[in-house]
């Protein structure tokens, strides 16, 4: 199948205070139709920038983005616009993503009218009601005439999703879309997204810093772990979670507390060599993780930038030279994290 979106050697820089900040470096990513893919990483790793590039809101500084196997630049202006419209984004902050000056009905009607998705005012109203019903905002009559400030965070996020659906997209980038809503609301939002994906055949790019959430949402899809502007590990979710290859992924997984007292207290932490995250403007040479990496091999890791490829013993792709060479594998298995400890405390 042709990937719906493909990033080829994408670099992205920002200029801040006359300094070049390389936010993304050499990102290669193929997103298949119907797929769920999760971008995870800590703040500043470039996941949001990647999301914005995929949603067509930012252009790569170099490298290219292909939609349906062809680059956007090679298409006519009209076609390009149509394609871009099929890539939508849902933002993180439900309080900033809706214009406070308009009612929900207005917010949904703008794109419907602009792109002539409906006929007449009756058709417009019907479509708005349909969309609100789709995102479980019922009864719609209660919602259409309200202003965003009259809704809760979860409801607003649903409106954001409905707005993205107005233009019948094929791909939605959900940029930390549930991180600012409450725990009890979160799961219902994710379930709704999953249902929409199934019903409408959507592709979803889910960006999050929460590994447990990523694991839950993208169990049938893939996870890409990012660190300082590069993808360091990518593969099927169960593989990455159960058998992480990159030392950074291992550190992350080991650091996450679990909502289970026995489990979380028996988890073994992985001590990094340094707690400091390098600045993007002063990236270390070689592998950007080497100053913190417990498996650092002098003379290799600080000289060569690892490429994202297969590694022995792992189903996923990883960008770590020792792992690729099979050197770290043994060491890791021996003295590293026990990720699935048997709880000592039972049902006494």
């Amino acid at each position: 199948m042709t990937p719906i979106v493909e990033l080829r050697g994408v670099h992205r820089e920002f200029i801040k205070d006359r300094e070049r900040v390389p936010v993304l470096q050499d990102i290669n990513l193929e997103i298949e139709p119907d797929e769920v893919i999760c971008l995870v990483g800590e703040s500043g790793c470039g996941k949001t920038t990647t999301g914005k590039i995929i949603a067509g809101l930012l252009n790569p500084s170099s490298g290219e983005m292909l939609v349906d196997g062809r680059s956007l630049a090679s298409r006519s202006g009209k076609e390009e616009k149509l394609l871009r419209r099929q890539l939508q984004i849902v933002h993180q902050d439900p309080f900033a993503s809706l214009n406070p000056a308009h009612t929900i009905g207005d917010i949904l009607s703008f794109p419907l009218r602009r792109h002539r998705m409906v006929k007449g005012s009756g058709g417009l109203q019907r479509r708005i009601w349909e969309l609100l019903t789709m995102v479980d905002l019922t009864p719609p009559g209660d919602i259409v005439n309200k202003y965003p400030h009259q809704l809760s965070g979860g409801q607003r996020q649903r409106v954001s999703i409905a707005r993205a659906l107005t233009v019948q997209p094929r791909l939605i980038v959900a940029d930390e879309a549930v991180s600012m809503v409450d725990v009890s609301i979160r799961i219902s939002l994710l379930k709704m997204l999953q249902n929409l994906r199934r019903e409408l055949g959507l592709t979803i790019v889910f960006i999050t810093h929460d590994l447990a959430l990523a694991k839950y949402f993208a169990w049938e899809g893939r996870i890409a772990v990012m660190y300082l502007g590069r993808i360091v590990e990518i593969g099927r979710t169960p593989d990455v979670i159960a058998n992480p290859a990159h030392p950074y992924t291992r550190a992350l997984l080991a650091a996450v507390p679990e909502a289970d007292p026995e489990l979380t207290r028996h988890k073994q932490a992985m001590r990094l060599r340094s707690d400091d995250i390098p600045k993007l403007t002063a990236l270390p040479p070689g592998c950007a993780f080497h100053p913190r990496c417990p498996f650092y091999v002098p003379g290799t890791c600080d000289v060569n930038v690892p490429a994202l490829t297969d590694a022995p013993g792992f189903a996923q792709e990883v960008a770590c030279i020792p792992v690729q060479q099979g050197q770290a594998a043994q060491q890791i298995v021996e003295d590293d994290v026990d990720l699935n400890p048997v709880p000592a405390h039972g049902l006494d």
Partner: protein, 395 residues
């Protein structure tokens, strides 16, 4: 300028009476008698004040308010708790129109409530309404005395100027003319010129500020440099110089000149606002939805700046009035009577400043200007509440 030159006329009154029948009929039809009568009166008054064309928007608004009252008790399918399958969405054009008008009326009523809620703002509004009524209706009620009245000199008095009396509630000026008539006739030009100046300055500022903020790059750099340049020049002294260079026969030119010197502050503020609004997520969503630049400017960015711009407009009107009165006070623009500022100037020039009986002549315009400025300041307090949907709904 436009429309306001035609001051209250009897013809307008007749037209207003006729047009007032629409809201009255609507009020009776929907059994909202009080609203209907209110609408009728509003139409009559606005017709009287501004003639047919000026009153027309007022008439439409009153009709909208009456309709919105009518809609309170009616079951609108779109606001009911019905599910999708239970609603028919096809409506007639007339129904659509009525609904639009009713919504307009509702938001007008909400604005009114917001205005009334803020006491200081409401006080300011009343002040402005008073000055509007004074300058619109006053001239047709009180005759203007342009000629000197030497015969009014009291026997033995050294000057014609006189303190307030029953006959002349605000006293007589240095030519023996009735101060009240000058007060009533002398405000219109000053107020209109100040408002014009403020509006032009705001227009320039908003246009250039939005352009700089949205387009960025070279445009932004050039516009910002010009703004900074003008900001460095001391505005009022330069206005003094320009007052000599430019021929001020037309008030409009004065307003334009003021605007040219006073747009940069607001322009920089608008630019900063646009820059920050441009970064908002909802603007980004609009870009992703391909809603177009015009939509982004007019529907996403602008509505969130309205209150800010309105407050600044009022501020600029104040500064404009300050500058214009100042120019007149220093005698640097051609003097034309009747005018509040000219009353102060001549009072000072004729040396009656220190005569106790001249209090009526001098204090009247001074107090009027002070009160007008004060009303503007107070009124601007409630603008934020009127334009912000969050504050308006009283959360």
């Amino acid at each position: 300028m436009i429309g306001f030159e035609t001051v209250a006329s009897p013809v307008g009154l007749v037209i207003g009476l006729i047009c007032g029948i629409v809201p009255l009929a609507a009020g009776i039809h929907y059994r909202r008698l009080r609203a209907g009568i209110g609408g009728f009166l509003a139409c009559t008054l606005s017709g009287f004040a501004c003639g047919f064309l000026g009153g027309l928007p007022m008439i439409a608004l009153t009709y909208a308010v009456v309709l919105s009252y009518a809609y309170v008790n009616r079951e609108d399918p779109f606001t009911s708790r019905a599910a999708l399958s239970e609603v028919t969405f096809e409506v007639t054009r007339a129904e659509q129109f009525q609904r639009t008008m009713a919504n307009l009326g509702k938001s007008l009523r909400a604005s009114w409530k917001a205005l009334v809620r803020n006491k200081a703002g409401f006080l300011g509004f009343l002040g402005l309404a008073f000055f509007a009524a004074l300058t619109i209706f006053g001239p047709s009620l009180i005759e203007y005395e342009g000629q000197a009245h030497i015969e009014r000199r009291e026997p033995g008095a050294r000057a014609l100027v006189a303190a307030p009396s029953v006959e002349h509630p605000l006293g007589l000026d240095w030519k023996g003319r009735d101060v009240l008539s000058h007060m009533v006739h002398g405000g219109q030009r000053l107020i209109i010129t100040s408002v014009e100046a403020g509006v032009i300055a705001t227009l320039i500022a908003v246009t250039l500020g939005s352009a700089a903020g949205l387009l960025g790059g070279v445009v932004d750099q050039i516009l910002s440099t010009i703004a900074n340049f003008i900001l460095t020049i001391p505005a009022f002294p330069l206005l003094l110089v320009l007052a000599a260079v430019v021929d001020f026969d037309s008030d409009f030119m004065l307003a334009v000149l003021f605007a040219v010197l006073n747009w940069p502050t607001l322009m920089r503020a608008v630019r900063a606002q646009v820059l920050s609004l441009r970064e908002r997520d909802y603007v980004e969503a609009a870009v992703a939805l391909d809603l177009g630049l015009w939509h982004i400017i007019s529907r996403e960015v602008f509505p969130n700046m309205v209150s800010y711009i309105a407050i600044n407009l009022i501020f600029t009107v104040r500064i404009a009035m300050y500058s214009i009165v100042g120019l007149v006070f220093l005698g640097l623009v051609p003097l034309r009577e009747p005018d509040w500022a000219v009353m102060i100037f001549t009072g000072r020039q004729q040396g009656v400043l220190f005569l106790p009986q001249a209090a009526g002549m001098l204090l009247s315009p001074i107090v009027a200007i002070a009160l007008f400025q004060l009303s503007l300041v107070l009124f601007s307090r409630s603008l934020e509440e009127i334009f912000n949907p969050r504050l308006r709904s009283g959360l």
